[in-house]
């Protein structure tokens, strides 16, 4: 396994003000994402998992500390530069799938490639490949509301992988799926990780998912309580 670090939270804290009360979502968290690995953030509800992923995904800013990916500190980038950085390097898989309802499967998967400015032929090749890989090529013309939950999440996975991102962030991707579907989707992600050598960061309580983790960061009340490293045979 490649042990190069692609992304890192350094001493990151995140506070929210609720009225006059300060809520600490994360405090002084250090986290490293290794290239090609499955990194997990677990913990009870409200422990700061989503917050940690949002910071890694450059859609939220830490109150203290810094975040970097591929050696680029996010706080050095303007809003537009950050957006472009996300566009090239970061992909999301959401608990609620978050597909665009007016776009069909093909268009949903193609959308990030539009943002990247890829020409039509290249887009077509990549979308076809990835839809094949997730087994939904025959559903290309369907709208999201014509698909089952598991199928929607596979479309979301295809949308994440199609741009060949540096990191895929998946916030409880199986929480809205039944256990069988959840296992299928998990297996698919594992398969995809091998196929495309993609780096994944998950937040999850799902033991099935956690079973495939390379590293597990356990949070409680925004504090890191434990890091488990799985020794994976080379």
């Amino acid at each position: 396994m490649n042990t190069k670090t692609v992304a890192r939270l350094r001493d990151v804290s995140k506070h929210y003000l609720l009225g006059s009360v300060q809520v600490t979502a994360l405090s002084a968290l250090n986290l490293e994402v290794k290239a090609g690995a499955f990194t997990f953030v677990t913990g009870p509800s409200g422990s700061g998992k989503t917050t940690a992923l949002n910071l890694l995904g450059a859609i939220d800013k830490p109150s203290q500390g810094s975040v970097d990916m591929l050696g680029q500190r996010f706080d050095e980038l303007s809003d537009t530069q950050l957006t472009d950085f996300r566009c090239r390097h970061i992909a999301y898989i959401f608990q609620n799938f978050n597909l665009i309802p007016v776009l069909n499967v093909y268009e949903n998967v193609e959308y990030p490639l539009h943002l990247m400015g890829l020409p039509k032929a290249a887009r077509q090749e990549r979308v076809t490949d990835v839809l094949d890989a997730v087994g939904l090529y025959d559903r290309a013309q369907h709208k999201p509301n014509e698909l089952s939950g598991g199928q929607r999440q596979r479309v979301a996975i295809a949308r994440a992988l199609v741009k060949q991102p540096t990191v895929v962030l998946a916030d409880e991707p199986t929480a809205n799926l039944d256990s069988q579907t959840s296992r299928d989707v998990t297996a698919l992600m594992q398969q995809m990780q091998r196929k495309f050598n993609t780096t994944f960061v998950f937040s999850s309580h799902d033991p099935d998912l956690i079973a495939m983790a390379d590293e597990v960061y356990h949070l409680v009340d925004g504090q890191l309580t434990d890091i488990k490293r799985q020794e994976v045979p080379q």
Binding site: I59, C87, I90, A91, Y92, F94, V102, L103, P112
Partner: protein, 461 residues
């Protein structure tokens, strides 16, 4: 998936709401089109009325327009036939001019001494055949037939306003419908007549014996160019109502030689105005400029005025209607702004999560903004197109319906016509204006969508 198609599909995600917005935009467009069509017809109707009686361009001796009302003979045009010939000989003018005709403005006192009544008059000497031709003008096709010019080409007399006919007790003689003579003539005041004028009166009476019989005659007393008083006896063939009462009560028109007889007697015959009627008013500006160069080249002491200058009513009425049109446009624009802002704000609210998703996978703020503005523009374009099409249908129906109305400067009813689409500039302007308004009103909701913190947006489900 291009952004426009994406926006188009998003626009109709909530069909009911979008349709209500579309209807609002299209009804606003329709209202503007109908009113615009009506305003156009009003402008064209007024213009047609003016052009039929006064042409589009007047040539005066310098100073006549300002001071000529006081003493026209100080500002008259000598050797006018040569000027007319020169202008008619110019190729560019000849092509554009329908009629060029000399006119003499006169004034004085009109009397029907048999009935012991008199009234100051404002008169014109004109060429009846030319004016009969001028009345045929109907360049826009929206105005009905004009009433025929009251004088035949070889008229041996003139016509007067119905108001003047009443004042001079000529209603019966001229057979005017709905006109009754003044109750009783004012008690005898003939004793006051100046002896010199009384002499003139006798002379005229004597020469009139040889004339054929006319329904009525009036005596016109005026100042000759020499300064001496002069009098002519004018046979009155008919009366015709004039649009404004002040004019109707004083108006006398007669063949040019008769008017010249009053002012110039045996001296050189002159005129005060050369009236030019063009085939098309669109040529006016250019023709005026061309006339000015010709006049400069010849060093004639003439000035040129277009009808918008010599007829102040036109500019006043058009200014008034333009103001009303502007006011209605603003009201409609406000309604459209509220509808679009409301529609898009709801859309943004329903799609927080989608916006967060798009932003998190790399859509710039500008892409989000463009998308919502585009949705506003789509509603604007469709609404405007729908409104313009409805307008075309309604215009056709109204024009076929045969309603009639009397425009401000007319005396006889005209068919009520809407005329918006003949000249595409106005409907295109209305459509474009509508699209601009919808685009601008979509900016605040679009900006709100674009500026939303991604994390907050994603938390909405």
């Amino acid at each position: 998936m291009n952004i426009a198609l994406f926006a188009a599909r998003s626009t109709f995600r909530n069909k009911r709401r979008s349709i209500i917005t579309l209807i609002t935009v299209s009804i606003g467009t329709l209202a503007l089109c109908l009113f615009g069509g009506f305003v156009n017809t009003v402008y064209q109707g007024i213009e047609t009325g003016i052009v039929r009686t006064s042409g589009q361009i007047h040539l005066y001796r310098e100073g006549f327009f300002e001071y000529g009302a006081g003493r026209a003979t100080d500002y008259d045009i000598a050797d006018y036939q040569r000027i007319v010939d020169t202008l008619q000989g110019d190729d560019r003018l000849a092509k554009r001019i329908a009629v060029i005709t000399p006119t003499l403005s006169i004034g004085g006192i009109a009397g029907n001494y048999a009935e012991n009544s008199s009234q100051t008059f404002v008169g014109v000497g004109l060429n009846p055949a030319d004016h009969a031709r001028m009345r045929m003008w109907n360049d826009y096709g929206t105005s009905g037939e004009s009433s025929a010019f009251p004088l035949p080409a070889d008229a041996q007399g003139g016509f007067i306003g119905t108001g003047l006919a009443k004042i001079l007790n000529l209603c019966d003689e001229l057979n005017i419908a709905g006109c009754t003579d003044a109750p009783t003539p004012v008690p005898d005041n003939t004793g006051a007549i100046d002896p010199e004028i009384a002499d003139l009166q006798l002379e005229v009476d004597a020469s009139a014996q040889s004339l054929p019989r006319f329904p009525a005659t009036i005596d016109l007393l005026g100042a000759a160019a020499s300064g001496a008083p002069n009098i002519i006896r004018l046979p009155v063939l008919s009366a015709q109502a004039q649009a404004q009462k002040a004019v109707d009560d004083r108006f006398v028109a007669m063949p040019l030689p008769m008017a010249q007889q009053l002012v110039y007697g045996q001296d050189e015959q002159r005129v005060t105005t050369l009236i030019i009627q063009l085939h098309h008013t669109t040529d006016m500006e250019d023709t005026v400029a061309h006339l000015r160069t010709l006049i400069d080249a010849q060093a004639w002491p003439l000035e040129v005025k277009g009808f918008t200058d010599f007829n102040v009513t036109y500019s006043r009425i058009t200014a008034m209607f333009s103001t009303i049109f502007g006011f209605i446009s603003v009201v409609i624009a406000i309604v459209v702004v509220f509808t679009i802002v409301n529609n898009l704000s709801m859309s943004v609210m329903e799609r927080f999560n989608e916006i967060g998703t798009l932003r998190s996978i790399g859509s710039r703020r500008s892409v989000i903004r463009e998308q919502f503005v585009l949705e506003g523009i789509i509603l604007g374009v469709l609404g405007a197109a729908l409104g313009l099409s409805l307008g075309m249908i309604v215009e056709t129906l109204v024009n076929l319906s045969g309603f009639s109305w009397t425009p401000p400067s007319n005396t006889i009813p005209q068919p009520l016509m809407l005329n918006l689409y003949a000249n595409p500039i106005m409907p295109l302007g209305i459509g474009l204006g509508m699209i601009i308004v919808t685009a601008l009103s979509s900016l605040p909701p679009a900006n709100r969508a674009a500026r939303m913190p991604i994390v907050d947006a994603l938390r909405h489900h």
